[in-house]
């Protein structure tokens, strides 16, 4: 039991700096007067909040899925690639982390906007067309979310692949394993943990975005955090904001529990 002392620092931080303030605000919002806990049940009844939440989940699932594919490819290259590619990948793959997300969004706007690069090329090739509408669309939001998630996914996967010794791979090759077999039977299982963590992390941050969807989606894509932020900062309806957050938290935890159990059974 003395090993538990290593858990102590975080438990202290968690209790004092997280549980305490958040429970206080939730209590103050929901418990302090009689009207407030109406909001709690309003949230489930509200079509708006349900729809926005499902919308958010949908976008996040799609973005996370694409990110995991791309992140896996990059992570693989970061660990197993030839020396030059390794350098290249590990540098550029991580670069988006170093630049503030808001600035990256503006970088994307320069690329995708009507007067931006892609459209300039399109107009040069196809003459005087209206150009492609890539910005202010749902696709742009997905692109933004994937872009911001790739570094985390890549690093997470690379971390778990670092331990795989190439000797194991050579041994498998010598024993006649094919391309697919090596990947599915050796690399994928070992990098499993990294993939799960990466997926979890990217999904969570995707669900939490509120500025990015409104900038890239042209205000047509509303995420749940946008609603929460409106209630916290614009209309000061903290009870509603707390209620939405609690339901969101509970739903996400339930979702993860269910998905994790399914994944464990599938990959047994």
């Amino acid at each position: 039991m003395k090993n538990l002392k290593f858990l102590l620092p975080y438990i202290i931080i968690y209790s004092i700096l997280f549980l305490l303030p958040v429970s206080l605000i939730v209590y103050y919002s929901l418990g302090s007067n009689d009207v407030s806990h109406i909001y709690f049940f309003d949230v489930i009844k509200s079509n708006l909040i349900r729809e926005v939440f499902f919308n958010t989940l949908l976008y996040s699932i799609i973005a996370t899925f694409i990110t995991s594919l791309l992140g896996w490819i990059l992570g693989f290259t970061m660990v197993f690639g030839s020396s030059r590619i390794k350098t290249f990948t590990s540098f550029i793959g991580i670069l988006p982390l170093l630049v503030n997300p808001l600035v990256i969004i503006y970088g994307w706007m320069l690329v995708l906007s009507n007067g931006g690069w892609v459209n300039n090329i399109v107009k040069a090739i196809f003459g005087n067309t209206a150009g492609l509408q890539m910005l202010y669309t749902p696709q742009a939001v997905i692109i933004g979310m994937v872009y911001l998630g790739i570094p985390y996914m890549t690093l997470s996967i690379a971390l778990s692949m670092l331990e795989i010794k190439t000797t194991i791979l050579s041994a498998a090759k010598t024993m006649g394993a094919s391309f697919i077999q090596i990947i599915t039977k050796i690399i994928l299982p070992i990098s499993k943990e990294g993939i799960y963590t990466g997926i979890f992390f990217v999904f969570v941050i995707s669900v939490g975005y509120y500025i990015i969807p409104s900038l890239l989606g042209g205000g047509k894509v509303d995420f749940i955090s946008t609603l929460i932020e409106q209630n916290v900062n614009k209309v000061l309806n903290w009870p509603l904001a707390s209620a939405i957050s609690i339901w969101m938290l509970v739903s996400m935890i339930l979702m993860f529990l269910i998905v994790k159990n399914i994944l464990i059974k599938v990959f047994r």
Binding site: N47, L48, S113, N114, L215, G219, D222, N233
Partner: protein, 345 residues
């Protein structure tokens, strides 16, 4: 091994001390929106005030975090003295009791325009939400000159953008439907949303931040958009080919308030008084293109600038002033309906 911990804690305390403010001279904190707006405020009145009265003015900035204002006042830790706030924060803040009543023996309001002075705050500028367009998009076609024409997508072509908020859009929808300028309030929300239904499929972008419209218009991602007049004015100064239409625009004030519990009330009132004087307002107006609230300012401006200001006589008569009180009572409900409306097919 434990030495590491001691170093960390020690380092921490060092910073704790470094973070404590040592106030030895009179000073106050002015909080505004940052960017070039606050730079203009600083140059026009904050720095001159500091020099003239030998009072240090700290500058803070925020992005409309109402929660922070409320939190400060309620926990008794008021670190901002004067804040520059929008109409919605103002009326809501007054309701929540977040501001100090102003001392009019220190603040001289004799030259202020009617409607700009309130017990808890004074409007220091007027800005308009108007329709703007890119001249290049309309070389051969007609530009809408009012909201009815904006709604008429068949006769007036162009990709459109509106602000992502019910504020202003409800009024514009009513105007498009024929409601006269002086009968907008109280707003019939059902009617407004029905009218908005007509234009919804044609809105390319719902903009959120003030600097989006000039961007959208200059790259022609959009041909017509509502915008804040000052932004379009600045874009034109920067050489962008944008025009704006004053007709049926919405005027909105921006207020100076003093947070309740501020420890520098007297100096804050002095600063507000100074900032509202004609020379200071003139300086600000010249840099940002927003409308002054001091009557004397308009007289001394060159004609070219006067034409560009929301509160000049020519431009003001075709606009309407936002009704802050109505919005204070109805913003929450309107926002909820707005969100639902945006999601609906």
């Amino acid at each position: 091994m434990y030495r590491k911990y001691f170093y960390l804690v020690f380092l921490g305390f060092l910073f704790l001390f470094a973070g404590c403010n040592k106030k030895t001279e009179p000073e106050l904190t002015f909080c505004s929106w940052g960017g070039s707006y606050q730079q203009a405020q600083s140059k026009s009145y904050l720095q001159p005030f500091a020099q003239k009265f030998d009072i240090k003015v700290n500058e803070a900035n925020y992005s409309g975090e109402f929660a922070k204002l409320k939190g400060m006042v309620e926990t008794g830790n008021v670190t901002w003295d004067i804040v520059s706030v929008t109409q919605s924060i103002f009326t809501r803040g007054v309701k929540e009791g977040l501001f100090e009543p102003l001392d009019f023996s220190i603040i001289d309001t004799t030259n202020m325009m009617p409607g700009t002075v309130n017990k808890y705050g004074i409007a220091h500028l007027l800005f308009s939400t108007i329709l703007a367009y890119n001249r290049d998009s309309y070389v051969n076609s007609k530009v809408p000159s009012n909201w009815k024409e904006f709604w008429d997508v068949n006769h007036f072509k162009g990709k459109r953008a509106l602000r992502d908020t019910p504020i202003g859009n409800l009024e514009f929808a009513l105007l498009a439907g024929g409601t006269p300028l002086d009968s907008l309030y109280p707003i019939n929300m059902d009617k407004a949303f029905k009218k908005l239904d007509e234009i919804k499929p044609f809105i390319r972008v719902w903009w959120v931040q003030g600097q989006q419209p000039p961007q959208l218009l200059s790259t022609q991602d959009v041909d017509l958009s509502t915008a804040f007049n000052g932004r379009i004015w600045k874009a034109r100064q920067d050489g962008q080919k944008l025009n704006l239409i004053w007709n049926q625009g919405m005027l909105e004030p921006e207020y100076f308030v003093v947070l309740k519990g501020s420890k520098n009330k007297i100096n804050s009132f002095k600063l507000i008084n100074f900032a509202l004087q004609a020379p200071q307002q003139t300086e600000f107006v010249k840099t940002m293109g927003y409308g002054p609230t001091n009557k004397l300012v308009l007289k001394n401006l060159p004609d070219s600038l006067r034409l560009d200001l929301p509160s000049s006589d020519i431009n003001i008569k075709n606009q309407f002033m936002i009704n802050g009180n109505w919005w204070a009572d109805n913003e929450e409900r309107a926002l909820e309906l707005w969100n639902k409306w945006k999601l609906s097919k």
